[in-house]
C-alpha cells in the first residue's frame, strides 16, 4: 500500500465527521490490536479493524471507505467490548458505512431485489431487515 500523508488531511472535516458520527475519538486508540484479535470475521477483512483506525488517524479516509472491512462487520460489538481505551470500532464502522450509503459512493453490499428467494421465505425476518438496514441504508 502506497500512501501520501498530507498535513492538511490529518484532521480535516471529513475525519472529524467520522468522529462525530461514531462518537469516538480516533486518537484515543494506541494500536494494541485487541479489536482485531477479538473480531470473529477479521480473516475476511482486507484491512483489520486496528489498521482502519490507524489509517483514519493519518487522514486516509478513502482507504477506509473503500475497504471490504466495513461490509463484513456484523455489528457484534466484540471489538467495542474488548477495547481497553473504550473505543468502539463497531460504531466507527457504522459511521463509515453510513458515509458511503448516504451518498451512494458505491453499490450497496445487499440489494433488496437480489436477496435470494430462499432467504426471504426461510430466514428470520430480523435477519433480512437487519441486513438491509445495515448494508443497504
Amino acid at each position: 500500500m502506497r500512501l501520501t500523508i498530507k498535513s492538511e488531511e490529518l484532521r480535516d472535516d471529513l475525519i472529524k465527521r467520522v468522529e462525530d458520527l461514531s462518537r469516538q475519538g480516533l486518537l484515543e486508540c494506541y494500536q494494541c490490536g485487541k479489536c482485531s484479535a477479538g473480531c470473529p470475521v477479521v480473516n475476511e477483512m482486507d484491512i483489520i479493524p486496528s489498521e482502519v483506525i490507524r489509517l483514519l488517524q493519518i487522514g486516509q479516509l478513502d482507504e477506509a471507505l473503500n475497504s471490504k472491512t466495513i461490509w463484513v462487520c456484523a455489528s457484534c460489538l466484540q471489538c467495542a467490548s474488548r477495547c481497553p481505551k473504550g473505543v468502539e470500532f463497531s460504531n466507527i464502522c457504522d459511521a463509515l458505512r453510513q458515509m458511503v450509503l448516504r451518498k451512494r459512493l458505491s453499490i450497496p453490499r445487499v440489494d433488496a431485489d437480489e436477496v435470494s428467494a430462499i432467504m426471504v421465505s426461510d430466514a428470520p425476518q430480523m435477519g433480512v431487515v437487519g441486513a438491509l438496514r445495515k448494508l443497504n441504508g
Binding site: 462525530d20 458520527l21 461514531s22 462518537r23 470473529p40 470475521v41 475476511e44 461490509w71 463484513v72 456484523a74 455489528s75 457484534c76 460489538l77 466484540q78 467495542a80 467490548s81 468502539e88 463497531s90 460504531n91 464502522c93 457504522d94 459511521a95 453510513q98 453490499r109 445487499v110 436477496v115 432467504m119 426461510d122 430466514a123 428470520p124 425476518q125 430480523m126 435477519g127 433480512v128 431487515v129 437487519g130 441486513a131 438491509l132 438496514r133 445495515k134 448494508l135
Partner: protein
C-alpha cells in the same frame, strides 16, 4: 400476574415455536404474558451513528405503546431486547432526541387518534425493558420456577449460547458480564441440566450477514457449534431466532465443509423449560428444527 409482552416480527411468524412455548411456560409459572394491543417491527438493528433519530422511532413508538399497558415490557428475541433497551436509554439520557422522537409520535397520534383512540402522552422512558430470562429470575424467581417443575433435566448436557445482542455493550444493556455471564447457566441449573461451558458462548453467529454473505456467517456459526461439540454438549440453547437459524439450519452447510461433522440440535430455552414444566403436545414444537432434538431428549427419557 399480568405483564405486557412484545413478541416482535420474527416470533409472530417464523419463530412461533419460540413464542408459543414462552407463553405456555409463563402461564405455568404464574405469569400472563399480555401481548401489546398494537405493536410494529422494532427495526431489528440499533443505529450506531450519533445523528440517527429516524432509526429509533420504531422502538420508541413501541415503548410508548407499552407505556399504556404497564411499567414494564417483556420480550424474548435478542435483537428486539437489544433495540428496545438501547432506544429506551437514548430517550432517558438524551433530552434532545427524546423531544424529536416525541414530535413524531405526536404527529402519529394526531393522524390516527380517531380510529385507535390514542392517548397524547409523551414517552419519556417510563417503561423498563425486561428479557424473559430476567423476568424468570427477578420477577418470578428461579426458586419459584423450580417449585413448578414436573421433572428435572438430569444428565442432559446443555451448552448455553448467549451470542452478542443480550450482552453488548455492557454499559447500555446492563444484562450480565459480557465475558463471563451467568444468567443462562443459573437458569439451566434450575432445570437440573448439566451445564456445558464453552469458549464461544458469547461469540457472534454471523448475524444478519447470513443474508449478505452466507459463507461468512456459516464460518462464524461453525466455530460456535464446533466449540460446544468439543466440550461434549448434547444440545445448544439460545434466546435468538437468528442465532437458532444460523446455528441449526446452517448445519446443512457445515456438513458439506467439515469432514466427519457431528450434528447437534439447537433449541430455544423456553422449549427446555416447557419440557421441565411438563408442557407437551403442540406447545413444544420441534418441527422447524433442522437437527431434531427428539432423539437425544428421548434417550434421556425426557419426551
Amino acid at each position: 400476574m399480568k405483564i405486557p409482552y412484545y413478541p416482535g416480527c420474527t416470533l409472530h411468524e417464523r419463530a412461533l415455536d419460540f413464542d408459543v412455548s414462552a407463553r405456555e411456560c409463563a402461564k405455568a409459572v404464574g405469569v400472563e404474558l399480555e401481548e401489546l394491543p398494537i405493536w410494529t417491527c422494532c427495526g431489528a438493528v440499533f443505529p450506531l451513528v450519533s445523528d440517527s433519530v429516524m432509526e429509533i422511532l420504531a422502538p420508541v413508538r413501541n415503548l410508548s405503546y407499552a407505556a399504556r399497558e404497564g411499567d414494564k415490557v417483556v420480550t424474548l428475541c435478542s435483537f428486539c431486547y437489544h433495540v428496545l433497551k438501547r432506544a429506551n436509554k437514548v430517550v432517558r439520557d438524551d433530552p434532545e432526541k427524546m423531544e424529536k422522537a416525541n414530535l413524531f409520535l405526536r404527529a402519529d397520534t394526531d393522524a390516527r387518534e380517531e380510529i385507535e383512540s390514542y392517548t397524547k402522552e409523551d414517552y419519556e422512558g417510563q417503561v423498563d425493558v425486561l428479557h424473559y430470562l430476567e423476568m424468570l429470575r427477578d420477577v418470578v424467581g428461579y426458586d419459584e420456577v423450580k417449585k413448578k417443575l414436573r421433572r428435572t433435566l438430569d444428565g442432559l448436557r446443555v451448552a448455553p449460547y448467549y451470542g452478542c445482542m443480550l450482552l453488548r455493550p455492557k454499559k447500555e444493556m446492563e444484562f450480565d458480564d459480557p465475558e463471563q455471564p451467568s444468567i443462562f447457566e443459573e437458569f439451566l441449573e434450575t432445570l437440573g441440566c448439566d451445564v456445558v461451558d464453552f469458549a464461544m458462548k458469547t461469540e457472534c453467529c454471523g448475524g444478519f450477514q447470513i443474508v449478505a454473505d452466507e459463507d461468512l456467517a456459516v464460518q462464524c456459526s461453525r466455530n460456535v457449534v464446533g466449540s460446544a461439540l468439543k466440550n461434549d454438549a448434547e444440545i445448544i440453547v439460545t434466546t435468538c431466532p437468528l442465532c437458532r437459524y444460523n446455528l441449526d439450519k446452517k448445519q446443512h452447510e457445515m456438513e458439506k465443509s467439515v469432514r466427519g461433522f457431528k450434528k447437534i440440535p439447537v433449541v430455544y430455552f423456553t422449549q427446555l423449560l416447557g419440557i421441565a414444566l411438563g408442557i407437551g403436545g403442540e406447545h413444544i414444537d420441534f418441527s422447524d428444527n433442522y437437527v431434531d432434538p427428539r432423539p437425544v431428549l428421548a434417550e434421556k427419557s425426557l419426551l
